[in-house]
């Protein structure tokens, strides 16, 4: 390291000490922009992992669909399309309220962000309640995976495979919805405490990114499971 560099560091340290330090800027980042980019890149890497994680189940779905198209069609017709369609609309609305909540924190409106996230959690709750009604109907009818399958009205021996895929995919997605509700609830507490501002809203933004991905997965699940012809 040259003498000039050492001098620059020394000067920077003096300036740093005199400077009013941004309370949200960690010391290993040179400026807020860099810190925000790093956090978001990390979140996107996680979302890329989520795509591949759900991808395995989507591939399994397509393999069974191409192997047993008639069974798949017959089993799929047992799903409740209106419930699935309403849930799609509910998740799209929750994505809107979450996106608006991020915007509210960008504009220093913590209280508005709180209520928009409350609406998001409420809509997520509506989604899970509808899912509960669908699940309880399937449990009642015996439309279940593997040897739990006791339904008689689908004329294929392997219809339990469809319900295996159905419960794995919607179950894993439902778990993501539940985790989303918990994380958004945590962000609501922080918004209520006025912790966010135009200078610091990364946690809300990353929570929003996660929530939109949960919506994205449902956007593909709904037609592939419910609307097969």
């Amino acid at each position: 390291m040259s003498a000039i560099d050492t001098e620059v560091i020394a000067n920077a340290k003096i300036e740093h000490a005199e400077h009013e330090h941004n309370p949200h800027l960690a010391h290993h980042f040179s400026e807020p922009e860099q810190q925000i980019s790093a956090a978001k890149l990390g979140m996107w890497a996680f979302l890329a992992q989520e795509v591949l994680f759900f991808g395995g189940l989507f591939v399994a779905l397509m393999v069974f669909r191409t192997w047993y198209p008639d069974m798949y069609r017959a089993a799929s017709s047992q799903l409740n399309v209106p419930f699935g369609a309403i849930n799609t609309m509910v998740l799209i609305c929750s994505s809107l309220t979450m996106a608006l909540a991020v915007r509210a924190t960008q504009l220093n409106r913590n209280r508005q962000a709180f209520w928009l996230m409350a609406a998001t959690v409420l809509l997520a709750g509506v989604f899970l309640v509808i899912k509960y009604f669908e699940y309880s109907h399937k449990f009642h009818e015996g439309q279940l995976p593997g040897h739990f399958y006791t339904f008689k009205e689908i004329p294929f021996d392997n219809a339990h495979m469809f319900f295996g895929i159905y419960f794995c995919m919607t179950g894993l997605h439902g778990l993501h919805v539940l985790i989303g509700m918990i994380v958004i609830g945590w962000m609501m507490v922080r918004a209520w405490r006025n912790e966010f501002s135009s200078q610091y809203y990364t946690p809300v933004e990353c929570t929003g990114l996660y929530w939109h991905l949960v919506d994205l997965i449902w956007i593909f699940l709904f037609p592939l499971l419910y609307l097969v012809k």
């Binding site: 609309m89 960008q106 939109h212 709904f222 037609p223």
Partner: protein, 130 residues
Amino acid sequence: MSTTTHADDSSHKHTPHVLPLRIYFGVWVALLVLTAITLAVSYYDFGEGNLIIALVVATIKATLVSLFFMHLFYDHKLNALVFGGSIVFLFLFFFFTLADTTTRGQVDPANGVFVNKHLQQKPSDEGHAH
């Protein structure tokens, strides 16, 4: 070595990119309309076309959500590269798996034809659990 790191006040300020409300509400309306289209199309039988239409509409919806709700359109392009990269690998996963599973079968030695036994599946007379 950056000499401007802590030298000026402007480097300590972050200016959020706030989108106008009409973008959020416009995307929301588009998503609801596209959902209605998917639903309406499902009541008609286009054979394999149904799956293709459903996937195309779902892809348009996913693109709208990621570009505007997730801000990818305005964001650092590296984020789009990471997310797009996962989609590319998902396609590779689909392509090579289905290239195998959809072309498995046996050659019928008597007639010399290719038989995919999965496609010959007929409904059983009555529903069985196994």
